[in-house]
């Protein structure tokens, strides 16, 4: 379990101070897989490193497994090596002067939880089996492929059975196919050992598929925490809406009767709190929630549209259409038969809109 309250961190640089974290509050439950997601430079790594103790926080409390490990206000700082953690680095950080066995055994021999020598070999081979590297014990670290290094790093991080596991973009140095395969495996491994995981990525697909919960960050602040479904289907603000998944944005204005005036006419939907009558708002809808039909059907909100471009992806087709002077992206099944230049009817499901001030 991890609990972070009011975490702030400044970096002093030659050009003055950088406020990397502006007050982070989050809680990761027992055995939960928690993903920090955000664009480059938003402070994900800094948060993770503060939890690991590799970076000293300037304000706020960090609790790991019920004990406070960092609290500048109370003068508490537990050094990294005394924290009950395991960590996988983006560069893997495999020690080049050791072989695979020595890399994984080192935490058991010299680390926080030392175990009797005769048990080391068994523990190590268990960990290596877990990451499917059984039999590679004697391979020098400099002779490993990227994927193998990744697995060794994983085995080394979990071999001491830490209560929490920290991972900083562990898959970003792998090629696309291997990344997907490792994603599934990662999930399986953390499940099987039941470790609480804090995982950093800037890849939204990775975040959605791995996380029990996802936390979207930007510029040192948390914007939304929720299950992948929540974050995807109900983004709480514009930034989350455009960062997670694809989204169409349309400018609109709040009319008197609680509806939004848009180029497609009045749209009825749930409004954000505290919006003034007549104020500008942004309507958002996902491309896969829009559909095209050859002709208008009764009972559905439709507008005329013209297909501008079509991007065929195999399983899906991404179309750009012009409707009422607005460009919209529409995601259809791959076999949809609309051609460029064709006229059609765009169906706008009323319950799929979100509105942002």
């Amino acid at each position: 379990m991890i609990r972070i309250r009011g975490l702030k961190k400044w970096f002093k640089t030659r050009h003055g101070q950088v406020e990397a974290l502006r007050g982070i509050d989050l809680e990761v439950g027992e055995r939960e897989f928690f993903v920090l997601l955000g664009p480059s430079g938003c402070g994900k790594t800094t948060t993770l490193r503060c939890v690991a103790g590799l970076e000293r926080a300037d304000q706020g409390e960090i609790e790991v497994g019920g004990t406070t490990v960092s609290s500048p206000e109370k003068g508490i700082y537990v050094p990294t090596e005394k924290r009950d953690i395991g960590m996988v680095f983006q560069s893997y950080a495999i020690w080049p002067h050791m072989n695979v066995f020595q890399n994984v055994a080192f935490p058991l021999i010299k680390g926080r939880r030392q175990i009797p020598r005769h048990q080391v070999a068994e523990k190590v081979s268990q960990a290596l089996k877990l990451v499917q590297l059984g039999g590679l014990e004697d391979r020098p670290a400099t002779d490993l492929s990227g994927g193998q290094q990744q697995r060794v790093a994983m085995a080394r991080a979990v071999v001491t059975e830490p209560t929490i596991l920290l991972m900083d973009e562990p898959l970003s140095n792998l090629d696309a196919r291997l990344r997907e395969q490792m994603r599934l495996e990662l999930r399986k491994i953390t499940r099987s050992i039941g470790v609480t995981t804090l995982y950093v990525t800037h890849d939204q697909a990775e975040a959605l598929s791995l996380g029990d919960r996802v936390c979207v960050m930007n510029e040192g602040e948390i914007l939304q925490i929720g299950s992948p479904q929540e974050v995807y289907s109900r983004p709480q603000n514009l930034f989350v809406a455009q960062f997670v998944g694809e989204m169409n944005f349309i400018r609109g204005r709040l009319s008197g009767d609680g509806q939004v005036e848009s180029p497609f006419g009045k749209v009825r939907c749930a409004l954000p709190q505290g919006c003034q009558r007549g104020s500008e708002v942004t309507l958002a809808i996902r491309p896969e929630h829009l559909t095209l039909q050859p002709r208008a059907a009764a009972g559905a909100a439709c507008v005329e549209a013209k297909v501008l471009t079509k991007n065929y992806l195999g399983d899906a087709a991404l179309l750009e259409v012009d409707a009422c002077g607005v460009n919209l992206r529409v995601k259809l099944a791959g076999d949809a038969a609309f051609a460029v230049g064709e006229k059609a009817v765009l169906v706008l499901p009323p319950d799929r809109w979100s509105v942002y001030a």
């Binding site: 790594t45 690991a52 103790g53 590799l54 970076e55 000293r56 050094p79 990294t80 090596e81 005394k82 924290r83 953690i85 395991g86 960590m87 680095f89 983006q90 560069s91 950080a93 020690w95 080049p96 002067h97 080192f106 935490p107 010299k110 680390g111 926080r112 939880r113 400099t142 790093a153 080394r156 991080a157 001491t160 920290l166 900083d168 973009e169 970003s172 140095n173």
Partner: protein, 582 residues
Amino acid sequence: MKAIAVNGALARALDFRNYGVNFFAGALLALLTILVGAPVLMVMLMSLRTGFPGEGGPLTLTNFVQAYTDPGTYEILLNTILFATGTVTVTLLFAVPLVWLLMRTDMPLKGTVYVLMTVGILIPVFLRTIAWILLLSPRIGLVNQWARQIFGMEQPLVSLYNIPGMAFIQGVSFVPAAFFMLAAAYRTMDPALEEAAYTSGVSKLQTFLRINIPITLPAIAGVMVYLFMTAIAVFEVPAIVGLPARILVLSSLVYTSTNPPTGLPNYGLAGAYGGIMLAAGLILAYFYVRLVRQGKKYTVITGRGYRPREIALGKWKWSALAFAMLYLSMEVFIPFLVLVWTSLLPHLRLPSMEALSSVTLKNYVTIMDYAGTRPFINTAVLMFGVPSVTMLVSVLVSWVVIRTHVSFRGILDTMAFLPHALPSILLAVGLAYLGLAYRNVFPVYGTIFIIVIAHTINWIAYGTRTTNSVMIQVHRELEEAGKVSGASTPRVLGRIVLPLVAAGVFNSWIWVSMLSYREVTMALTLYSRKNVVISTVVWQFWGNGWVPEVAALGVILIAFALIVVGALKLGFSRLGEYGSGS
């Protein structure tokens, strides 16, 4: 079919451009082979001859027999090894902690320490040695004078005239070079390797012992071998401290054989002693190259996520700074202050009110009367000639090595690296022999040009190392874009490559100029009345016992170097990083 294939091959072989590049590379290789090979060949030749240079006569092994049947030789070999080992130990004792403190901790005043380290390179070793003698000589040294005065001691308190004393001065002088080499290796090391140990629960001490040390070991070993190789070849400390104390090492033995205080020069014997230096140099250079390669295997340049964290020293901060300052005092402050103090007095004495009242600038004024203008003109020739020729050759060699597909580019690179393994005293002795024995084909003996040639050969290794790394940084596409647009190879080199590498090349130019300015070993070995330079003037003054004048000229020498480099450093913030090749 066959005819066409042959025709094709022929056409390719005769392709003018390819042919041009190959021809050019071949000419460069020939030039380097002559430059590096001639002195080496001369050393070998003279070791096989007796009598004066140019007398000819049959080849014989007499010199070797004489040299290696003398038990004295083995004593000297032992001295050499002890001196070199001591030197390397002293250097690492300071350099390794300094690298760690400056690269990875939050020690205060890091920038200042870094700059002063560069200043250390600019103080010539022989001046530092002289300053330490003025301080610690048993007879005239200030410390021993003081001990006599205060405690009425009969025996000198400390003396520099022994092998540990020599190793101390030489070791301190090597620290900046070792520091910059180690720092460069350290910079390519992934800090996550260390952090991974912390997150595994390994203590800081264990991490240092089990992770940092083993990973840096190839780099440290490489630096050790390099230092050892250089320590065997250095001449200044063995001459200034060792000769009066009758502690001979190989380099001073070679020197005294060719420049005996009494009697006739014996080049044959010098060659026989030089042979073992040469062999040792080559063997060590081989190990050095291997270790560097091993070290490269250990560095993972990840780029992303690379952000070394500074280790907070806490209450140890000031002890760390004190350590750095202790070192800098030995390297810079104490020698400089001793020289300044000595230069202001009619004769060397302890500071006191009385001494202060006799402070005078007279020594600075009289230098010109003793020295004349010739040394200054000659030094200026060195400072412009040596770096210009060295960098020109270096750029051309690096371009062939890094940028072309010439089949023998590896050999060219090795040839350019070889001078590193060639002790400068042997290089100079070899050139002197060449100049004396073959006056008609090589008519430069006794002129400043023979020193220019010697310096150029010596620093081509350093020059090509820096131009190689500069050249690697310039993307090949830039050059290819030039070719695609139809420019000829020389034009691409001149108009595209050169401007891009200009800053880096200029940096090294400055350094080679400064190194040439302060060099004394080769200048002294090749010395004649006509080619005297400032550093050899200082040496002569010292030999004559003109202590205050030595100090005054030394202060001027250092001050001028500081002003030049300081002024240029304002424009080039990275100058310090190029000092490693000294």
